[in-house]
């Protein structure tokens, strides 16, 4: 139980060990731990940021979908309206065309009638002339006419 030079050896050893721990053991491990802590904190922050961004993106997506739906509805409405308009227009134009065709047909008919009437009128003249000719040829009596002519000549 005596105190001797072992104490000094032990103290020296102790100092050397402390310095070794301080230089080679403590700093690298502490550094690695601090770095990991930082990385974990960064990772958590990034995860949170990502989640927030995802929520935002979802919101934006929902908004876009809603907008798109509204737009689609609007387009369908417009298309329907335009469709009825086109149908109405087509009906109107068809009616007008029909009217026009009918009118032109009527005027053509009238023209034909007129033309036929003219023709008939022209033929009536010749027919009456021919008829007259026939009637006249049958009625002519050469002797009577000669007498008539002789009377005429004598009167001159």
């Amino acid at each position: 139980m005596d105190i001797n030079v072992t104490l000094i050896g032990q103290a020296g050893t102790f100092l050397v060990f402390i310095l070794f721990t301080m230089k080679f053991v403590w700093p690298p491990i502490k550094e690695a731990m601090d770095k990991r802590r930082e990385e974990i904190a960064d990772g958590l922050a990034a995860a949170e940021r990502g989640q927030r961004e995802q929520e935002l993106a979802q919101q934006r997506a929902e908004e876009t979908i809603r907008e798109a739906r509204n737009q689609a509805a609007e387009i369908v409405d417009q298309a329907n309206k335009r469709g009825t308009e086109i149908v109405e227009e087509a009906k109107a134009s068809a009616r007008a065309e029909g009217e026009r065709i009918k009118e032109s047909a009527q005027s053509e008919i009238e023209q034909e009638v007129n033309r036929a009437r003219e023709k008939l009128r022209a033929q009536v003249a010749t027919l009456s002339v021919t008829g007259a000719e026939r009637v006249l040829r049958k009625e002519v009596d050469a002797a009577a006419h000669e007498r008539m002519l002789d009377d005429l000549v004598s009167e001159l």
Binding site: I3, N4, L15, F20, V25, K30
Partner: protein, 256 residues
């Protein structure tokens, strides 16, 4: 019966004798030094390995353990010592692990190494518990005393630290009383540190030796009980030494 007592006495004394070289003050306890060196090298070697392989990635196995320990010690130092910890924290780690390993040697069966080395190398005496040697515990605590003084000067300046010695706690008019009180207080710190550790481990070692004197078929009952109790004492004493060292240095470094 007398011869039996003699045998027991001899056995105990044999187990309490150091392997020495030299005479008087220049006696060297080879066993204490070598065992503590081996333990220190085991400690530093394994921790150095962890330090070299330390990555910021996912830690595994040994690195995990070392990191947990370093975190524990760092928190302990941080809670007590409010200053730069680049020396204090490694100091605390060194003390804790080294003293823990010293104390752990107490759980090795008392006859194992002395007998083994006697048979193999003809070593006559061997005590493998460094903390049951006053030289080892005082070697630590006197170094700590040096650190207490250095940190006192570092924290308060040479003048400030000297002034505290003569004016604290009773004011400048009672400076002789202050001086005596402070000197005693400062010296009591390393003495109590060393003696507490030594006392615990020496007593424990002695009890293990006494248990080893019992008949072989009954040894395991008191031996087991004492060993289980010791599982508590081994880390506790290492922890107390560490905490008190940090506390003493912090007290000396900071203003009261």
């Amino acid at each position: 019966m007398a011869s039996g007592e003699n045998v027991a006495q001899e056995y105990v004394l044999h187990h309490l004798t150091h392997l020495t070289v030299g005479e008087g003050f220049w006696t060297v306890h080879l066993d204490t030094l070598i065992v503590s060196w081996i333990l220190g090298i085991v400690f530093l070697g394994t921790f150095w390995l962890a330090a070299r392989r330390a990555t910021a990635g996912v830690p595994a196995g040994w690195q995990n353990f070392v990191e947990a320990l370093i975190d524990f010690i760092d928190n302990l130092a941080k809670d007590t010592f409010h200053g730069a910890r680049h020396f204090i924290a490694p100091l605390a780690l060194t003390i804790f692990v080294w003293v823990f390993l010293w104390n752990l040697m107490d759980l090795v069966p008392v006859d194992l190494f002395p007998h083994l080395l006697n048979v193999v190398f003809g070593v006559e005496y061997l005590r493998i518990v460094p903390s049951a040697d006053l030289n080892a515990t005082f070697g630590l605590s006197l170094t700590v005393l040096g650190l207490i003084l250095i940190y006192g000067v570092k924290g308060k300046g040479f003048g400030g630290y000297c002034k505290e010695f003569v004016t604290h706690p009773f004011g400048p008019w009672l400076f002789p009383a202050n001086l005596i009180l402070n000197v005693v207080e400062t010296l009591a710190k390393p003495v109590s540190l060393a003696l507490r550790l030594f006392g615990n481990l020496y007593a424990a070692e002695l009890i293990f030796i006494l248990i080893a004197l019992l008949p072989i078929w009954v040894q395991f009952i008191p031996g087991g009980a004492w060993a289980i109790f010791h599982v508590l004492v081994v880390p506790l004493q290492a922890f107390i030494f560490t905490v008190l060292t940090v506390v003493y240095i912090a007290l000396s470094y900071e203003e009261h």
